[in-house]
Subunit: 120 residues, 2 copies
């Protein structure tokens, strides 16, 4: 993860509709959701507005898309999300390992790390 990519990702996440889309897709899991279904889950979203925000998210690599018949299916790009966290928190414990533990605890509430997984 480079600075430019992180800036794009944070920029994408700083807009209400887009943040909601990402969180929706994070819970939706790897099957993802069609653009139309995402739009229905948002209040008052015209198709062009939805398309604009989805393409911003895709450019920022926070979501990925694939075509399935007439629909385009979007899903969250968890690799980018975790890269973002790592970029932001890198070197947070220079001599003070205790200070950044809350961040780890927060993520652990999601799920336990794979034993022996290579640290990114």
């Amino acid at each position: 993860m480079h600075e430019k990519q992180a800036l794009d990702a944070f920029g994408a996440l700083s807009q209400e509709t887009r943040l909601r889309i990402v969180r929706l897709l994070v819970t939706a899991g790897p099957e993802g959701m069609s653009a139309g279904a995402i739009g229905e889950a948002m209040d008052s979203a015209s198709s062009s507005r939805m398309s604009f925000h989805l393409s911003q998210l895709e450019q920022a690599r926070l979501v990925e898309s694939r075509r399935e018949g007439r629909s385009i299916i979007y899903c969250a790009a968890l690799v980018t999300l975790s890269g973002l966290v790592e970029f932001l928190m890198r070197d947070c414990c220079q001599g003070h390992p205790e200070v950044c533990n809350p961040a780890v605890a927060a993520l652990s509430s999601c799920c336990e790390p794979t034993k022996g997984a290579p640290h990114v």
Copy 2:
């Protein structure tokens, strides 16, 4: 962490100078740095510009400040950073615990979680 607070935080992090400041302060640790010292670490930052960005960061609760003599010392607010991660990744493993492990591994590269720490 509520949506509004998360939007403010992501908005604050989506600007080059501010993202650099946060990362600088994350590595600086709890002692923090004075506004002037932060400004010197940025290229071509006028004091008013620096003050504008620092106040944006403080409004987003990503940094905290205290006065020390003539200087104002800023340090990273790790509680907000970890809250942000938790907000973004909440419910990422609805039935699919394996998919979000990369995020945990990324954070673990920073430091190990405290044993028995309450999960946020």
